[in-house]
């Protein structure tokens, strides 16, 4: 399954030739090659067609697209606490197969990642078991309880890249103000899930005609926009670094645009699900489409796509959330939220490219260079000295998603049995090939 040592020669030099190099940061788009030495890109460009080094391993990319490996800013695992759902190891295998070279794991574990020792734990487990880079986000409130802020300064020093309460919102505006204000002193990014818990109440899907017909309690889009409006005002008041984790409706995008127009340096993300699916996919109570935030109406989905196209949405995340069958095979209202995503992030995003909605560069930037900039990571670009985190993509290859073959421990993929066009052929992490499609091809 993993072609770990395969691509590394004794000198540690690998040369990738005959590739279409595409860098979302610089806009570079040319045919050429990349020289990998050790863990970094040593050289790249049109002049690289081979190598004089007889020890070097030369890989002909067959004219396929070579891009920086994807950075997925929202990946939940079950480690620690619920390893039956997903471990860092299995999540990293799924990531590698999807061309994702860096995953940012969420703190909503058991216990929550709210203490320096737990950040250390994630980093150690990632180092020992994962095949892609793993960085933790830490909780912004202790135990994700929304009462007291965490040790943001110490957690940041320990390696927490940002702070979030995952799929929970901090309802207390005073606390949110304090967190934004305090985090600013450490230049720490606050990533907030925006859903007013009182307004969302017992809702389980988007509020509207579909929820009425299904007889399910709904969550109005206003639950999101009210919380987002509050946050944007608090970001203005405090000057804190704010990122709306996952917006889902047109009104939220409009609020972000206005805030930026007023000079606020706020950012936002959207999940791949909200770019490719809508509330109608819930169909007859299909729980794999029960998500947080809920899938919205088609015009909201189109607004999200437009937001990516215009660059108003900074980041596309997979919102990878593995759930065991026993919590999904339940009546819709009782089923768990969440869907798999990290392995299908790239192919699902390529749907938007193939149907002409978004050009390749802005689409890939939202999964590479922009999250890298937001999180202060050196990856997400093709440049000399940058980490050799790379993904070789066949844009055209058709294949059918089969949840049984996905790398995750859980199988709750909303794209199960979907025919995709395009996928990762090879994935390199720190110069090492960690995934090769030719080892286990899937037919359409």
């Amino acid at each position: 399954m993993i072609a770990a040592a395969k691509a590394s020669s004794t000198t540690g030099r690998t040369v990738l030739t005959n590739a279409r190099l595409l860098c979302p940061l610089t806009g570079r788009d040319e045919t050429g090659g990349v020289v990998i030495e050790g863990k970094v890109i040593a050289d790249l460009g049109g002049h690289i067609v081979g190598s004089d080094d007889p020890e070097a391993e030369i890989i002909d990319c067959g004219g396929h697209l070579l891009i920086p490996g994807l950075i997925d800013m929202q990946v939940s695992t079950g480690e620690p606490g619920e390893e039956h759902r997903e471990t860092l190891a299995t999540a990293s295998r799924a990531a590698a197969a999807g061309g994702v070279t860096t995953i940012i794991c969420m703190p909503d574990t058991k216990p929550a990642i709210d203490d320096v020792s737990l950040v250390d734990f994630i980093e150690r487990r990632a180092r020992d078991t994962a095949i892609v880079h793993v960085h933790p986000m830490a909780a912004m409130t202790k135990g994700l309880a929304g009462k007291e802020m965490t040790e943001i300064g110490l957690l940041r020093q320990a390696g927490a890249l940002a702070f979030t309460d995952a799929k929970r919102s901090v309802a207390n505006a005073q606390l949110m103000r304090n967190i934004l204000s305090y985090a600013r002193d450490f230049d720490a990014l606050i990533v907030h899930f925006t859903e007013d818990p009182n307004l969302a109440d017992t809702g389980v899907m988007n509020e509207g005609e579909v929820s009425s017909n299904l007889g399910l309690p709904g969550i109005p889009a206003e639950a999101e926009t009210i919380m987002l409006d509050r946050d944007l005002r608090l970001a203005a008041l405090t000057g804190g670094r704010y990122h709306a984790a996952s917006i889902s409706c047109a009104a939220s995008l409009e609020a972000i645009r206005e805030a930026r127009h007023a000079g606020l340096k706020v950012t936002c993300g959207v999940s791949i699900n909200h770019l490719t699916l809508n509330e109608n996919d819930v169909g007859s109570y299909r729980t794999y489409f029960k998500l947080k935030p809920p899938l919205r109406i088609e015009s909201d989905r189109r607004a999200m796509v437009e937001g990516v196209r215009r660059g108003d949405i900074d980041v596309i995340v997979s919102a990878h959330d593995p759930q065991d069958a026993d919590v999904k095979r339940r009546p819709f209202a009782e089923a768990a939220d969440g869907a798999l995503g990290v392995e299908t992030l790239l192919p699902a995003a390529l749907q938007l490219y193939h149907n002409g909605a978004v050009a390749l560069l802005p689409l890939l930037a939202a999964m590479t260079s922009r999250p890298a900039q937001l999180l202060g990571l050196p990856a997400g670009r093709l440049a000399v000295g940058a980490p050799a985190d790379l993904c070789l993509v066949d844009l055209g290859i058709p294949w059918r998603v089969d949840a049984q073959w996905l790398g995750s421990k859980s199988k709750n993929s909303p794209f199960d049995e979907t025919v995709m066009q395009g996928r990762a052929l090879k994935t390199f992490v720190a110069g090492r090939c960690v995934y090769s499609y030719s080892d286990h091809p899937v037919r359409a």
Binding site: M149, I152, G153, L175, N178, Y182, R184, D185
Partner: protein, 334 residues
């Protein structure tokens, strides 16, 4: 033996003469001392000169004087206090006043009403000086309007604590010979600190460069408009500082989560030997007390040779004697 007595008597007389000289030269134009706000640089300097002489006097003799003989001083403390209250008590007694302590338990429900009722009641007893501490900002000023005697603010809420600022200034001046031009870093829980507010006013009036260092959640809003330099990293504020004033983390005044833990607070804002090295080699370490070792200051620094925390307490008595003396000419039938 006789020679020795004469020697002490001479010292006593000269110390007392210095006090007399300082007090004769200086006229304090205010009836109350409600805050540093409203005091001129001359007012402050005059008080410090007198307190300086009192400090020397206190070190040499313990004999009572009669500046306030026959006068009644009531210490009215709505908030608990050990050092300030005993310091005022000692100051009054050394000047010959009859001092009475009233510990009033403040009830949060009927605060405003209780305060004015108490003021009227006390006023009927015809005291000469009231020393007042209250947990509400502006309460001392309100009370001063309702009584006929002199009122000294011993701390009102998060507003002012003028005698603390004066004793801090006296401590600094006795070590550095001046206030003007010194760089003073006030560090820690600034937003809840009346000590910080009074010190900012006093130090600015006398021409010091004031810096504040605190996490953003412990800085007063618009703190950059207070005539100070604001830092959110302690080390930056300490670089080149002459004076370091540490403040107590006032967790009892915090109603929401402002700092995550005392561990994190000490890590970033606690003064330890490493951080102390950032300041000038002869920088003084001050703290209004009571100190929380291991929260805002390490034990090693609190007991460091450059720590003047105990001397601040000594200067407190001298400053309060000076304050009581300069108010004396304004007392009823003076």
């Amino acid at each position: 033996m006789i020679a020795l007595a004469a020697h002490y008597s001479h010292q006593y007389n000269s110390a007392l003469m210095n006090v007399a000289l300082a007090s004769q030269k200086f006229y304090f134009p205010h009836k109350h001392l409600l805050g540093i706000k409203g005091l001129t640089s001359a007012d402050i300097t005059g008080l410090l000169d007198l307190a300086d002489a009192e400090a020397d006097y206190n070190r040499r003799v313990t004999q009572k004087r009669d500046v306030l003989r026959g006068r009644t001083q009531i210490n009215l403390f709505f908030e608990s206090s050990t050092r300030t209250q005993s310091s005022f008590e000692l100051a009054g007694k050394r000047l010959g006043a009859d001092v009475m302590n009233m510990a009033v338990k403040s009830s949060s429900i009927e605060k405003g009403e209780t305060l004015l009722d108490t003021a009227v009641t006390l006023n009927a007893m015809r005291p000469d000086i009231l020393i007042v501490r209250h947990n509400a900002a502006g309460a001392v000023e309100l009370l001063a309007k309702k009584v006929d005697c002199a009122v000294v603010n011993a701390g009102d809420g998060e507003h002012e604590h003028p005698t603390q600022a004066l004793l801090d200034a006296l401590t600094i001046r006795r070590h550095k010979g001046r206030i003007e031009g010194l760089t003073v870093a006030i560090c820690g829980d600034v937003v809840h600190s009346r000590v910080a507010r009074s010190n900012i006013l006093l130090l600015n009036t006398l021409g010091a460069h004031v810096r504040l260092a605190a996490p953003s959640t412990l800085l007063p809003p618009a703190s950059d408009r207070l005539g100070v330099e604001v830092f959110t990293k302690l080390e930056d504020a300490l670089a080149g500082a002459d004076i370091i004033m540490m403040l107590r983390l006032q967790r009892e005044r915090m109603t929401t989560s402002l700092v995550p833990s005392t561990r994190e607070y000490f890590h970033f804002f606690g003064l330890d030997n490493d951080k102390l090295k950032k300041a000038k080699p002869d920088a003084l370490v001050m703290h209004p007390g009571p100190i929380n070792r291991g929260i805002e200051i390490s034990s090693a620094v609190a007991d460091h040779p450059r720590s003047v925390i105990r001397e601040q307490v000594e200067m407190g008595v001298a400053v309060r004697m000076a304050v009581l003396q300069v108010l004396a000419p304004h007392l009823r039938n003076a």
